[in-house]
Every structure is written in structure tokens, then in C-alpha cells.
């Protein structure tokens, strides 16, 4: 028997699934896809440096300094990394990525208060980078909680 894929055919797949159900399925799929894009990036570990994908639009000079700062960071030279990020901030303080990395370096230096403040500064100049905002908020909330627990103890 020749199988016809004409949707009018009795044997078509579409006819096996009611159109109403298909629409609901598509709607749910869309919602999930949307949510997957909007879902905040979870910060598994404060060890990781921010995703480079977020820095694609940055000018070369800032990218160069971020790369240098990363190298210093992974060499455990955190004060050096911070100094390099400060150079980037002096060139242009409107890059949220730079402030956010400073927050991360401050965490490594054990200065949670400044980590929170720099994450807030990052949020104050952030445009549409939802992942970065989620990253900053994670630093702010987790460390604020930690601080309040320490104070209550």
C-alpha cells in the first residue's frame, strides 16, 4: 500500500493528533522555550569567570584588559586582576561586565561587602543582559545572606 502524506489522507500523522491538542502543545513548547531563555543563569560556583559570550560587544581595549585580568585571576593574582579591571573602568565605567568581574574578584579576596557593592554597580549600568543580572543578583543575595548569618552568630 502506498502511503500518502497528504494531510487529507486518513493515514496522516496530523490527523492522528487533534489540532486543538497540537496548538496547546505548541503553546507549551513556546512558553518553555521562552522560559529556558529567560531562566536566570545559576551560578554554580563563584570560581568561574563570567561567560565570554556576554563580552562579545565590548570594544577591543576592554576585551584585552578583561583577558589580562582573567589570566591574573587564574594565576591566583587577585589584586593584579582587580587593578587591571580598574584600568578598564577608567576607560569606560559603563560596561556592566567589568563591574561584575570586580565583584567576583572581591569575593576571592574575601571582601564580601565590596563584592556586593560592585555587583550592585554592575546592575546599575546593565542594559539587557539578563544572565549578567542574574549572576550579580546571585552574588548580592548569597553574600548578603551570609553576612546577616554571620552577624546573627
Amino acid at each position: 500500500m502506498q502511503i500518502s502524506w497528504n494531510y487529507r489522507s486518513n493515514n496522516t500523522l496530523l490527523q492522528l493528533i487533534p489540532v486543538k491538542h497540537l496548538l496547546v502543545f505548541l503553546f507549551v513548547l513556546l512558553v518553555f522555550t521562552g522560559c529556558a531563555q529567560l531562566k536566570p543563569a545559576t551560578v554554580k560556583s563563584t570560581e568561574s569567570i563570567l561567560p565570554v559570550a556576554d563580552s562579545v560587544k565590548l570594544p577591543d581595549v576592554i576585551k584585552t584588559l578583561l583577558a589580562k585580568s582573567d589570566t591574573q585571576y587564574f594565576d591566583d593574582n587577585f589584586t593584579g586582576s582587580l587593578a587591571t579591571l580598574e584600568r578598564a573602568v577608567r576607560i569606560n565605567p559603563r560596561h556592566a561586565e567589568v563591574w561584575s568581574r570586580m565583584a567576583q574578584v572581591y569575593l576571592k579576596l574575601g571582601n564580601e561587602e565590596q563584592a556586593i557593592q560592585h555587583a550592585k554597580r554592575s546592575n546599575s549600568v546593565i542594559k539587557n543582559n539578563i544572565r549578567l543580572k542574574a549572576f550579580n543578583n546571585e552574588i548580592i543575595t548569597s553574600n548578603s545572606l551570609k553576612k546577616s548569618q554571620e552577624m546573627s552568630n
Binding site: P59, E86, I91, S124
Partner: protein, 779 residues
């Protein structure tokens, strides 16, 4: 008794016999008195030698020299798109002592300019806080005041960023005012050592500190010449003289010099002695500073490290030892060249140069750098600030003697603009109104977001190192207080918005001393009701006092502290009009928090400190404190922007195209004229007043604002355009009643509101005329 006489006789005989024998031996050395005298002498001599030895070893084992600390400006960062004029870059290179060539540069510290916009440069090695940066050749093009190209010198490879070494702008000196830069012996070129020994002490490695042959030769030469023409001192003796003795020419000093030279040779190796000499020797004078040591002299005369000098340049430095003033190369180039040629000849005789090399070098000119690399403190007010901030971490002795390297945010380009603006505007103000005289001023410039001080002028003669008005002139701030009062109110969005109506009618307040105080507006008029935004924009006094009393004086004081003011704030009613004292620096701290959208970054000038060997000692990192709610500060900044468009600083709208924000301030009887304002990248506070606190005849707008405007005309400023924080909604409001309106209604203005605080009551809408609509369209 009878027995005693013969004994006496026999004793006399014995004595006579002994004396006879002593004289007969003619050996004074064995004479009891002589022996005793000699013993005493030997003991005293040994004691004196021990004393000298202690003196030598104490000095040599400890810190031999007091090394002044040096203050550096910010390093100039070069990258594509950076704002930089050709003149600014030329000035930077000149301040760094770079030598301009007509040919392509081949050594560090040289550059050439092609077509007046294309630079070819070879930078110098420099130890920054984060490591050593090696010398690099690069090409740079400046087009329309921007760096358009930044490439490596010998290839087309792009450099994304390059950091020039910073200009040394000042020294913090010990009382001796000796300037020196230490160098290790193994870093000194062999030719340099050879030239030095050939000229000053050929038998250095053979003698024990004193060279009798040299002394005899010198004596003979001096006798023949009938005066002092030659010295017989060895390098060791010269070092002893410089380190331990006074320059007087006495026999005692000469003896001490010889003894100490001997002791120095016994205690220390030839290498140590030579290295110490190379760092100690006096080689010239730069203003009040004495140039000591070959490394510093090399930088002073040639703007280059000793290691990078040509042999003829080394010869010139060696020639200077004989008489740094007499052969001063900048003042007496002919003498200096003759002396250099003598040294070159001696080097040739010692086999260090071939005849061809000798001939070649003798044809060269001295090759001096265009300008000395350092001079006396050019920025006294700024250096005073640096010292004060350093004293929090270092004691006075360390600052003056440990050779610290202090890296700062001082920007010589902005500083020179600030100085020029002060000179220009103060003289304009005095010339345009002859009743105005003896004005004094302060001008502070900082980066808006990082709170780094870039420039500071504290006197109408910026180079005058007197009273530091920026830090120590504590004056009433007048209307500069007002943004803090409105901020306090706007932090209560349920109660106050920009559209709140304030009462601008006569007010009488009973003070704590039972006196009646009736504040006045500057124009002595009352407008009845006025919107909060207009009251601040137009700097109305009476509604501000009412608002201040409503929100509470202690709350205003808290807001000021949150904004970064450290001083105690009085809480009497007239404080709402700024009747309390702050310094320009305090005001800059306060307005920095507005400029950074609520993040308080305490103003600082020092970035890093290194020790004399270039090892990092301390960093002063950027620290922020989210002190104020970002929504409330956004509202106040919206008004401060309005001040520069239609308020008391509206002249700025014509003078500068960029979006700016700021506030004028004037005190009673026009004693103080203030303006504090900012762009996205620069913050500046200007104050004009008189030291005797008498009237200047100037308001904030007619005095300080003119100075501020003149400065900002010459800076690279970016428009102030803060991001609107989440939770802020814009609404169209009726400009007179504060009720909700619509875009096309007459007198409607669009204002930001904290979510939930928007007015709900609707105002009557009269359709806007065509002119209003056109204005709206352009707004």
C-alpha cells in the same frame, strides 16, 4: 734611723747608675715615660680607630642614604578611539623627557613626528605596580583629536592598548634635598666603570684606600703649577669625604680621610666601595635638588637609563665628577664637550676605544635630553593632598627617606587646563569689574564614577605653595546644600515627588535663642505655591527651609553623611540654606555621590605605592558604597540637569552642548561663589571667595560657574545620561498645579516618578498652542 741612711745612699747610687745606663742606650723607646706615653698613644689611637670603624660600619650596614619618595602622575593609556590632542601628546612626551628626532627612533625614549599627526615612538622599560613593562616601539596617529591608529613600530600589528610610563611630578625630600636613584654594580656598563677608573683612580684595584704614588704625583704636579691642579685622592678617599666628612680643607680632615679610607678597605670589598661611590657621587643641581649618583644623572641629562647610554654620554657623566657646576652641560655645553673629549681620550689610552671610535664620538654633540625629567613640585596643592593621604599609612621619616614610588591619579593634562582656567577667569572677573579684587579660588577635578582626583588648584597662582584652600578653606556652602534636602524628601516617595507643591510665602521661625528668623529668597519675592522641581531648579530659599524643617534637620544631616561628608553637621534651621562650613574637598565628596548615581566613592588620589626596589607595598583599590537609593537620586539628578538647562546655571546650556548636571551656591553678602557640577565622566567643584571673608560681589552663577564652564570647555566631557533605574515611570504633569496632564496640554511637563508615587489627581487640560507643541517636539 741609723740603718736607713746607708740605704738611701745606695738607692741614690742605683738610680744614678740606671739613668746612666738608660742614656747610654739612647733608646728613648724604653724610657719609662716615653713607654708610658707611647702606650697611651697606642691605646688612644686604637680607640680612635675603633670609633672611626664603628662610624663606618654603622653607616655602611644601615641605610646609607635618605632616598626621597617620588610621586608619579597617572600613566597615559593609549588605545584606538581615545580622546587626545596632538598638543597634549607632545606635551606628555616632553614631560617624560623623550627626545624628538628627525629620523626614525632607534632607542628607548626617542620619537619622531610625521605630518604633524603621526608619531613613531620607542617607550622605555617601566616597573608598574602590576609588573615590569618592557620598552616597545609603536606608531600612533591622531585624527580629529582621537587616536585613530595604534600599531607596532615595525609591523602592521595593531596594539589594542598601550600604557605610557607616568610622568614623575614631585619628590618628597629629606632635609638634605638629595635626589638619587640606586643602581647595582653589575647593572653598570663595563665601559662606564672603565672610564671612571681611567679618570679618577687608575690604581683602584691595587691600593688599600690610600695611594702614596698618586699623592706624590699630585704634590709634584701642584708644586710645579704653583697651585692645586691635581688631586691625589683615591675613589675610596673621595667616598669617605662625601659620606662621612665635611668639605673643609684641613690637615685633621685629611688625616681622618686617610684613616677612614684604610678602614673602609679593610671592612668592605672593592665592589661594595665602587658601587657605593657610583650611587653617592654628586653630579649636578636641578633647582633645589642635588643630583647624586650616575643612574639619576643619566636620567637627568639624557632621559635614559645608564645601561642605555652611548659611550660618549658615559664619558660626559664621568667628566662631570671633576666639577658638576663648572662643566654643567646645559649651561656650559662647550666646556662640557671639551671635558667629555678629554675623558674619551683617556678611554682610548686605556684601550676602551679605538682611534676610529674616538674620532666618531668626538664629532657627536652632547645628546642631552630636551628638558630635565624632573623639577621642583609643580602642583603644590595636589602634592599636599598626596602627602596627607600617605601619612595615614606611612610615617614622615619613611616618606622622606625610604624611596617610595607613589602612583597617583593626577592627570597633568587636566591639571594644566585647570590652572589655565583659574588664571584666565580670575583675571577676567577682576578686569570686568573693578570693585572685585583679591579673589582667591579653589578648583577640584575628579573622575565622576571612580572618585579619583585628577587636578586641584588651591590658589589664584596655582604654583604658589601656600594655604591649601581646597582642603583647608572651610566656608559656608549656601545653596549647595539644597540637593541633600530635596534628596532627603524624595526618599519618602509616599510623601514627596517632583510634582509636590511647596509653599513659597513669607516664613518666620523662632530660633533656639528666641530670635525671629525670616528667610528670604534671593530675589526678595515670594511666588506662592511652587512645584518641588522648580523650587530646587530655581534655588528658592523659603520653600527649601520649609521642606527642610518638615523632613527634619537630623535626617538632612544623615543624608549629608551618606553622601560622603565627614564633618559634623549642625542642626539649626539656617543649615537648610547652607549656613555651615565645608571645604571644597568635602563638597566634591558630596557631589561625587550624585555623579555616581548614589554610589559613594571616597575621593582619593593615590593608586599604588612601591618600595625603592619596585616591589608592591600597598594598593588603594576602588571602593564603592551604595549609600543612597538609586531611584531618589535619579530624581534629584533629573533636577540638577534641569538647573543647567533652565535653572540658575542655564548659561551652561548655551556654553556647552553636552548634557550636564550641577548646582550653584551663593552665601550671604556674596562672600562665597560656588558651583558643583558633573558630566558622565568628570566632576568639578569651583569656589571663589576672599581670604578675609569679605564680599566678592559674585554669585555662584557670575563667579564660580564661569570658572567651571571655562574648564569644561577644555576637557573631553561625555554627556550625563544616567540609566533610568527600574521602578521609575514618567508622567505628564501640569507645570503649575502638579496634577496629571497630557502631552498636548498647555504647560505640561514630563517628570519621572518612583513607581506608586505618581499623582492621581487630574489637572485641567488646555490644548497647547502651536508654539508649545513645537517646544515639546524638540524636547
Amino acid at each position: 734611723m741609723t740603718k736607713s741612711k746607708p740605704r738611701k745612699k745606695s738607692a741614690k747610687k742605683k738610680k744614678a747608675r740606671n739613668t746612666k745606663r738608660n742614656f747610654s742606650l739612647s733608646a728613648l723607646l724604653f724610657n719609662r715615660y716615653t713607654f708610658t706615653g707611647l702606650t697611651v698613644f697606642v691605646f688612644l689611637f686604637a680607640g680612635y680607630m675603633a670609633y672611626l670603624n664603628i662610624k663606618i660600619t654603622e653607616k655602611m650596614s644601615g641605610r646609607i642614604w635618605s632616598l626621597p619618595s617620588h610621586v608619579y602622575a597617572r600613566p597615559l593609556e593609549l588605545y584606538q578611539g581615545k580622546y587626545l590632542t596632538i598638543e597634549q601628546f607632545k606635551s606628555e612626551l616632553q614631560q617624560l623627557g623623550y627626545v624628538q628626532l628627525k629620523s626614525r627612533p632607534s632607542k628607548a625614549g626617542q620619537y619622531r613626528i610625521l605630518n604633524n599627526s603621526h608619531f613613531e615612538i620607542i617607550s622605555r622599560d617601566f616597573s608598574f605596580w602590576d609588573g615590569k613593562q618592557k620598552s616597545q616601539g609603536f606608531r600612533l596617529n591622531i585624527l580629529n583629536n582621537e587616536i585613530s591608529v595604534l600599531h607596532q613600530l615595525y609591523s602592521d600589528e595593531t596594539l589594542s592598548i598601550f600604557r605610557m610610563e607616568p610622568v614623575k611630578i614631585a619628590g618628597i625630600y629629606p632635609s638634605t634635598r638629595q635626589e638619587r636613584q640606586l643602581i647595582k654594580l653589575d647593572e653598570v656598563p663595563d665601559d662606564m666603570v672603565l672610564a671612571l677608573l681611567a679618570v679618577e683612580d687608575r690604581r683602584f684595584y691595587q691600593h688599600w684606600g690610600i695611594d702614596p704614588r698618586s699623592i706624590l704625583r699630585a704634590l709634584l704636579a701642584n708644586f710645579m703649577a704653583g697651585g692645586t691642579v691635581q688631586g691625589g685622592s683615591t675613589l675610596t678617599q673621595q667616598l669617605v669625604k662625601n659620606l662621612f666628612l665635611s668639605p673643609e680643607r684641613t690637615l685633621t680632615r685629611k688625616i681622618n680621610e686617610a684613616l677612614m679610607a684604610l678602614l673602609l678597605e679593610i671592612n668592605y670589598s672593592k665592589s661594595v666601595i665602587l658601587e657605593t661611590y657610583i650611587n653617592e657621587v654628586y653630579l649636578g643641581q636641578s633647582g633645589a635638588q642635588q643630583i647624586h649618583g650616575f643612574e639619576l644623572a643619566s636620567q637627568y641629562y639624557f632621559a635614559n637609563s645608564l645601561r642605555k647610554l652611548r659611550r660618549d654620554q658615559m664619558a660626559m657623566l664621568v667628566g662631570l665628577v671633576k666639577g658638576p657646576s663648572w662643566y654643567a652641560p646645559r649651561r656650559h655645553p662647550k666646556r662640557a664637550k671639551d671635558r667629555r673629549d678629554q675623558v674619551l681620550k683617556l678611554m682610548h689610552e686605556q684601550g676602551a676605544l679605538t682611534q676610529a671610535q674616538l674620532n666618531k664620538y668626538k664629532k657627536l654633540d652632547l645628546g642631552l635630553s630636551s628638558k630635565p625629567r624632573f623639577s621642583a613640585n609643580r602642583f603644590p596643592a595636589l602634592i599636599d593632598l598626596v602627602k596627607r593621604q600617605l601619612k595615614r599609612d606611612y610615617n614622615e621619616d619613611d616618606l622622606k627617606s625610604s624611596g617610595l614610588k607613589v602612583f597617583t591619579s593626577i592627570d597633568p593634562i587636566i591639571q594644566s587646563q585647570a590652572e589655565a582656567s583659574v588664571k584666565r577667569v580670575i583675571s577676567q572677573l577682576e578686569n570686568s569689574n573693578h570693585s572685585v579684587s583679591d579673589l582667591q579660588t579653589s578648583l577640584i577635578v575628579a573622575s565622576s564614577q571612580q572618585g579619583e582626583i585628577q587636578a586641584m588648584v588651591s590658589d589664584r597662582k596655582p604654583e604658589f605653595p601656600g594655604f591649601n584652600r581646597s582642603l583647608d578653606a572651610i566656608r559656608q556652602i549656601g545653596s549647595l546644600i539644597k540637593p541633600a534636602i530635596y534628596l532627603t524628601a524624595l526618599q519618602q516617595p509616599g510623601k514627596y515627588t517632583l510634582a509636590s507643591r511647596l509653599d513659597d510665602s513669607p516664613l518666620h521661625i523662632k530660633t533656639a535663642k528666641e530670635q525671629l528668623w525670616s528667610p528670604q529668597n534671593y530675589d526678595k519675592k515670594f511666588t506662592g505655591d511652587i512645584l518641588l522641581i522648580e523650587a530646587l531648579k530655581k534655588s528658592r530659599n523659603v520653600p527649601t527651609v520649609r521642606l527642610g524643617l518638615e523632613v527634619g534637620l537630623s535626617d538632612i544631616s544623615d543624608t549629608l553623611h551618606n553622601l560622603g561628608v565627614k564633618r559634623k553637621i549642625p542642626t539649626y534651621p539656617s543649615m537648610t540654606l547652607g549656613a555651615f562650613n565645608l571645604s571644597p574637598f568635602d563638597v566634591a565628596n558630596m557631589y561625587q555621590t550624585f555623579a555616581a548615581n548614589g554610589f559613594n566613592v571616597p575621593l582619593k588620589v593615590i593608586r599604588e605605592v612601591l618600595n625603592k626596589d619596585g616591589q608592591p607595598l600597598k594598593r588603594y583599590p576602588l571602593k564603592s558604597d551604595k549609600a543612597i537609593d538609586e531611584k531618589a537620586i535619579y530624581l534629584v539628578n533629573h533636577v540638577l540637569h534641569g538647573v543647567t538647562r533652565t535653572g540658575t546655571a542655564r548659561s551652561l546650556a548655551k556654553a556647552l552642548p553636552q548634557s550636564l548636571a550641577g548646582k550653584t551656591g551663593t552665601t550671604d553678602d556674596l562672600r562665597d561663589s560656588w558651583f558643583a557640577g558633573f558630566s558622565d565622566n568628570q566632576l568639578a567643584v569651583a569656589w571663589i571667595g576672599r581670604d578675609d571673608n569679605s564680599s566678592t560681589g559674585l554669585t555662584g552663577s557670575s563667579g564660580a560657574l564661569r570658572l567651571w564652564t571655562d574648564l569644561f570647555r577644555h576637557l573631553n566631557i561625555q554627556s550625563f545620561s544616567p540609566d533610568r533605574p527600574a521602578g521609575i515611570n514618567n508622567r505628564w504633569i501640569d507645570g503649575s498645579s502638579g496634577g496629571l496632564s497630557e502631552k498636548n496640554c498647555q504647560g505640561a511637563v514630563e517628570l519621572p516618578f518612583i513607581q506608586g508615587s505618581e499623582p492621581t489627581e487630574k489637572a485641567e487640560c488646555k490644548s497647547a498652542g502651536i508654539i508649545d507643541q513645537i517646544i515639546h517636539f524638540f524636547n
